[in-house]
Symmetry: C2
Subunit: 360 residues, 2 copies
């Protein structure tokens, strides 16, 4: 631990294992499937652990990630609209060796995927992406969801599999999570009722986001859930009240490289390691939590420098000393590493970030 080159992203295997099992147990108790979003870890090994814990499938954002995760699980949800020919062709190809489901919110996407599926002579499953208040993607009304589902049924090469929602707005800005989730349930239930009238199938109803993971039983229409961050957790989770510091499995070990400016030390982790992401629930809390110096604040990042204000610390870390950071948002940090370190008991070994940089 004191010899690995820094900055190094170190995963505590015991915590990962505990995080995966805790959600698996919760989901089993409530009869809901877990389809972890692999964007957080981008790792074959972690996806295998999640699969062994009973995952019904895996979730990805990009086709490149799907191609990597196809070696782990045959049931894949691409929770991202595919509209261009190149991407659709790769999904259609993947359908020869996996069962892909793609979440879409436009007739354009349905047609592009249909064209590719027909050319590849394969079948692509479709979830209609319904916006339940997050305002990013998703058709805007239950009737629009029905109309898109009806359109999908007319497209050769596509199979309507159900509905996807992403309540990313809940648990951040909204104080009354339970009431907000009840509203999500009501929208989904209403949509499914309208679908039923048209004999539209919805074998999958997929929900997501780590902040609402352990309250997903409040949306009983969901058949499955696709959390990402829960596997590692980060300061967004801690300061949002969804995890404790002890639940944070991924930490960045840094070295103090300068203390020339009074009241400040420089760590060898800047924006190219920690990313410039602010903490959602506490934007003024700095760029991550310094575990050994909880009074320290990472005030500013350059690309390779982290400026740490240590004026409130009883003792400032010395040059050459190693400190450990829990980042604000772990997912983009993992994506900056070719390899990360796994800590099992007191031994460390390297693990590749298999789907790193899969932007397409």
């Amino acid at each position: 631990m004191h010899d690995i080159p820094t900055p190094a992203l170190v995963i505590d295997w015991e915590i990962v294992d505990r995080n995966i099992k805790r959600l698996a147990e919760y989901a089993a108790q409530h009869g809901i499937g877990v389809r972890p979003h692999t964007k957080t870890h981008k790792s074959v090994l972690i996806a295998q652990m999640q699969t062994q814990a009973g995952a019904v499938g895996l979730t990805v954002a990009k086709v490149g990630e799907a191609e990597v995760m196809a070696d782990v699980h045959s049931d894949l949800l691409l929770a991202y609209p595919c509209v261009d020919a190149a991407r659709c062709e790769r999904v259609a190809e993947l359908a020869h060796r996996t069962i892909p489901h793609v979440a879409i919110d436009s007739a354009h996407a349905a047609e592009a995927l249909s064209t590719a599926a027909q050319r590849a002579d394969s079948t692509i499953g479709i979830l209609v992406d319904l916006d339940v208040g997050n305002g990013r993607t998703g058709v805007q009304t239950p009737l629009a969801a029905r109309d898109l589902a009806l359109h999908v049924e007319t497209c050769p090469g596509l199979r309507l599999d159900g509905l996807m929602v992403y309540p990313g707005h809940i648990g951040k800005a909204i104080a009354d999570q339970d009431a907000a989730l009840a509203e999500v349930e009501s929208t989904i239930a209403h949509t499914l009722k309208i679908w039923k009238r048209k004999k539209l199938a919805a074998s999958i109803v997929s929900g997501g986001s780590t902040p609402t993971a352990f309250t997903s039983h409040l949306v009983p229409s969901l058949t499955e859930y696709r959390p990402g961050t829960y596997v590692y957790n980060d300061m967004n989770c801690v300061r949002g009240g969804f995890a404790t510091l002890d639940d944070c499995a991924a930490r960045i070990v840094c070295t103090v490289v300068s203390n020339a400016v009074p009241g400040q030390v420089i760590i060898d982790a800047g924006g190219k390691t920690l990313t410039y992401d602010k903490c959602g629930p506490a934007p003024d809390s700095g760029h991550g939590h310094v575990v050994e110096y909880s009074e320290a604040k990472i005030t500013k990042l350059s690309e390779e420098h982290g400026q740490v204000d240590v004026t409130n610390c009883e003792r400032a870390p010395e040059i050459g000393e190693r400190v450990t950071i829990i980042p604000n948002h772990i997912c983009p940090c993992v994506n900056l590493q070719d390899h990360i370190w796994i800590k099992v008991d007191e031994t460390l070994k390297q693990m590749p970030v298999d789907a790193r940089g899969m932007l397409v």
Copy 2:
């Protein structure tokens, strides 16, 4: 151009060439050496172009970058303190095939490098990092610079090469750039005078930052300059007044993947492509400039989604349409790509980002 998978970082070769030549001409005119900071492009090919344009050496932040750039130029400045044994050993090893200079601001770094140099039986050049107001790294006074230089002279395996400054605070917050640069000159001149009294050598006096690149003649004590971003430029440069849109060589081609939410489109470039970096001179201007829709604003980034407000656009881009983004800060964007595309006339070819992810 209309077939490459998106998001794709595309470099306009003509603009890169013009940017490199413009600075080389300015520097030649004022008798100052150029030592480009390769952190921006991390590319062997671009470093070769810079070398052909007369670069006196190359600058890197990390040892891994130095090992890549050693194939291009034998004279390398590591503008980053090395304090841990592993990193110092790699620098000492590099000294067998290159001339490395390392900028340091502590006796601790001098000793760590000296130990490594002695073990490897090599010599490492040292620049004393002097803070001229930026407040990140660098000894705080001319006298402290002298004392560190004197200490370096007592360390076996080290060779005192001179002084490094980084006026990163100028051109952003400070309105009167010329007066601020005059102050930098006065601090350096004073330091060199004190050094001279002790017969301390300063064959290199290195200045930096793209915003002050074309005013570096206002700091006549500088022997060389190490700008990074100038080669590509970005919205930080444009909105700071240091470049025009036409000077921006690196652009991200994206596809519109959703327009379900009224007044908004989603592009397939989020924080994992554009980074979460805000624009320094205009923090409220959004996450980059949409070239084809200058009234559009990238208001919010998820990892793979960019939310673009198009309410002020005469016409909104359609689903499947490609749009081009000039990012706020190009350096961390390049570091997210394994390959980027070079556009020469109307043909595109792939180029590796050779030193991508070299965090150590």
